[in-house]
Symmetry: C2
Subunit: 376 residues, 2 copies
Amino acid sequence: MAAAKKATTKPKTTEKDVRTLRKIEQLAQSAVRTVEKKENPALSIRMRALSNVSFNEKKRIIELGQKTQSREFFNTSMARKFMQTFLIARGCKTLIDEGKTVSIRQMFYMTKHTLQGSSENTFEDQSESDPIIEDLEVGIDALREELHLFANKRGLVVGSLVVNDAGDEIDLTRMGRGGWGIPSICEDDQLRFVRNKAEFILCVEKQAVWHRLNEDRFWEKHKCILMTTEGQAARGSRRLLQRMATELKLPIYVLVDNDPWGLYIYSVLKQGSINLAYESMRMAVPGVRFLGMSSFDYKKFTLPKAVEIKLSKEDISRAEQMKAYPWFKDKKWQREIQELLKNGFKMEVDALLTKSISFITEEYIPKKLRDKDFLQ
Amino acid sequence: MAAAKKATTKPKTTEKDVRTLRKIEQLAQSAVRTVEKKENPALSIRMRALSNVSFNEKKRIIELGQKTQSREFFNTSMARKFMQTFLIARGCKTLIDEGKTVSIRQMFYMTKHTLQGSSENTFEDQSESDPIIEDLEVGIDALREELHLFANKRGLVVGSLVVNDAGDEIDLTRMGRGGWGIPSICEDDQLRFVRNKAEFILCVEKQAVWHRLNEDRFWEKHKCILMTTEGQAARGSRRLLQRMATELKLPIYVLVDNDPWGLYIYSVLKQGSINLAYESMRMAVPGVRFLGMSSFDYKKFTLPKAVEIKLSKEDISRAEQMKAYPWFKDKKWQREIQELLKNGFKMEVDALLTKSISFITEEYIPKKLRDKDFLQ
């Protein structure tokens, strides 16, 4: 293995960084100008509320609308938040200047202090700083990744792809059983795709299923990229999927448990979430395909009674809710969700091991792919 | 990057596998012989109860004692468990024969079925199969890893070490920002240390702290291996640490939050846990050193009031409990825990960012190492 020498200098400020810095500076200058005119400085921020969220039928993603709210300095109910927004903005500017990133918890500590001559803290706890970060993202139109903030990372990947991350060339066919940890921030200034031989991406919800598939070297036989989100997908995993879909132009198949939670995980990957509607354009992957587990798989693969887990009351009401979502209104989705309710039970992908240890690898997924048996 | 061709044949049965198979076969043969003698077949299993757990002062680990209990087939309260033990044993034999591994959830599905001519299931849910797996481990003296069962994996590693895992040579200096995912099973038939240039191991509890240190390339400057357990250490992380300690003979420094939970994470790494006392000899690393965060760090590093998080009632009673543990009876540990109680607050490692973004990397850890300021 050629251990090429690696540069250890600080990452340079990228073009994207320069753009983000300019946005932060504009925010500050605008406030200063208003003060100089002896007016009340204010921020205009798009409302992050259900009433300002809608499903864009054409783009097939959940989007934030254009309704804004104003945040004024000379307003007792807003002054604190106004001050906090500028503290966070200053923190992000420092991060970009120094070419470093921190977690949103760490940003809370970076900006928390006791105001001089008082016993008042700038932030009491993280539940105060997190929404301010979201305000800033929406307010200056920069994702938190561009503000050099990272969310906890989750997710692993292996397969027929070579990437370059932070200067290291990483061959994802040679990751052993452990896999490469998907970074929190998957933007193109640090992570690039070097060589791809994969023909599709298989993204599984459960780590243990990924482990079985990796051990059976599914990705090698089927020339694919094998990823696990390890539950609900973290931001890094979503952004990586989106970039692979657009830059590598690969189809993506998603394999989740047959339950409302699995449907929800798929749904967030596909069209984004209501809570983070602002980020859909950078996170959602409208092209992802639902490979399973489908409620119809029970009969299709003659699974034994042992796989059944009775639906709980919450499962049933959650499934009913799903049926009403505009992005599931298509007839084939209505049938799928209706079958789940009709079955009266849910199933885990792991349950396919009742057939045999490698049934998932050798029969279930290959058959689904061969038959083009997926929903979209 | 030389993409050496990799063998894709199934992993061969190793010597360790042969030994484990023999143990399973002996278990079965012994039962058959008893039946042939028209006697009541029984298993003798060491008791997994607090009354059979103790701290071995010499080895400095928590151990399971020698008290056993007998499990008989002709005993209405034991017959079901007797049958289940043999089902799991058969499942593990299949796994070893086929050179595959599954999660304990997947093993539940592999062995769950409805008994012919009845409506009774072999297992109702996983809470029935998990203890049987532990029984089998203790009963035939084989860790679940040897039985080809994996726990959910958690933990990431980078640094000055090259490993070979399942035939892939992996240079941990070239893992970008993502890191290598620590496998669930870190035994020497699959994972080997190829070349080591590290002088010590730094193991941090929090993923975000690991991320900061990796971004600052701490492991490069200080020639070390940088690991995160991502909270309480999973079996794979514990076993990897133990093997690095014994095979690479490297000192290990542990950095956890300054709270009772952090102390507990450290304590489990060091001497094992009461629940899994049986596994201490293969998991515990009595040599690990507690680098921090210490309750004395507040004054030592003149941290601001902003880092304080008031101790809850549970924190206080948990700390009192810790003080009473035999492995914390040393005077220096009593002082440490007493100071936590005296402070009346806990602190997170992340809180060091109140000083500056790279304070952890450039000042806190280097000073601690230089001053040999750690507990053991």
